[in-house]
Symmetry: C2
Subunit: 197 residues, 2 copies
Amino acid sequence: MTRMNKRRLSLLEGALLGLLHDEPRSGYALRKLFATTPMGNFSDSPGSIYPALGRLAAQGRIAGSVENARSLRPRQVYRLTAAGVGALEGWLREPMAPGGMTEDFSALLLRFVFMPQTIGRPETVRFLATLEVELKRQVAELRQFYRQTVRVLPTSGRLGMRAGIEICAAHARWASLAHRTMAGRNKPKDRSGRSES
Amino acid sequence: MTRMNKRRLSLLEGALLGLLHDEPRSGYALRKLFATTPMGNFSDSPGSIYPALGRLAAQGRIAGSVENARSLRPRQVYRLTAAGVGALEGWLREPMAPGGMTEDFSALLLRFVFMPQTIGRPETVRFLATLEVELKRQVAELRQFYRQTVRVLPTSGRLGMRAGIEICAAHARWASLAHRTMAGRNKPKDRSGRSES
DNA sequence: GAGACCATGTAATCGGTTACATGATTCA
DNA sequence: TGAATCATGTAACCGATTACATGGTCTC
């Protein structure tokens, strides 16, 4: 029936689905979120969000219920459809590129934030475990590259490499902490898997 | 004559100008760079690089000298023109958005790497100084936001915030180190400013 | 009634990605 | 001679950004 397996979700679309899964919101509310919270790496301009919402609606992944009708500009409050939940789950479950340098940590982080409420805690823990391993591997790789090239690099190049290494190492440390935290049996809430509005 | 103040340089264009400023290269050499070094956040696909090189050439910022002519596919080796150097300098000197959360640290890092050989060490040091201040401010801002919202966040949201904070803190630590390193009178090489192939 | 803010959209542009295509050179 | 690698490009698509545009509502 649905068959709306369009292409992979963009980062913005994933963020929108995750936020709407958390609770239904209007386009304007989403804009305000992007404008006023640390999710500000997304643009809060209307030309960014409304077309994306329109696409998701056209794909049947979200549905807008009009509030404040008879107004010329009724306020649309969007919520996920079943297909939208499926798309969100699929996005969260996408395997991370194994060879991929960096692979935009912020995207992985965003996915992590939405995971427990969507696909449950055990899968989230597995995600963090592989992320931790992958990041540690990347740090080692970068260190080795640094050792091999440090002689020919100018000072700024050397410092650039060190920045890459230390940032990657910070990612790895965080992944380790998050892994331990989510795997531990403290915080027995969030356990139910879904629907915690 | 030149008058080619097109729009702002994209990150890819800045990277290409910086690399070509360092030494002339062919498109293929640039692809290999992206494919095999930690600059791999850039795509190494031909459809990415060649159009960008073509644009830069059309704008008079780089010029390709054909090597190995009479071959059907001659190898183009690009080097910066005077206008290209100017564009690179302008890009490196762009002020960082003061209110900007995150503002893509990797872009700032990339710019830093090219700075000493292009606009000289003192300006680079100033750049690092303001970067350090800005990052510390951002860390404080994030910490405050965390304190204000920690009560209503689920575990994963809390961990997400902590990731943002710790990564920003790692950026700040690096900026501090880089600032001290570049400001110190050790490493008296790299001093000349440009042309150190 | 003027300005700020709520709220939603459209149009033009532009660059990056993907996929396709071509042919030369080198090496087994 | 066939495969891998060198080397350069084009075409189609798609989505993000920017700027523009509209009108309602609330407050002084």
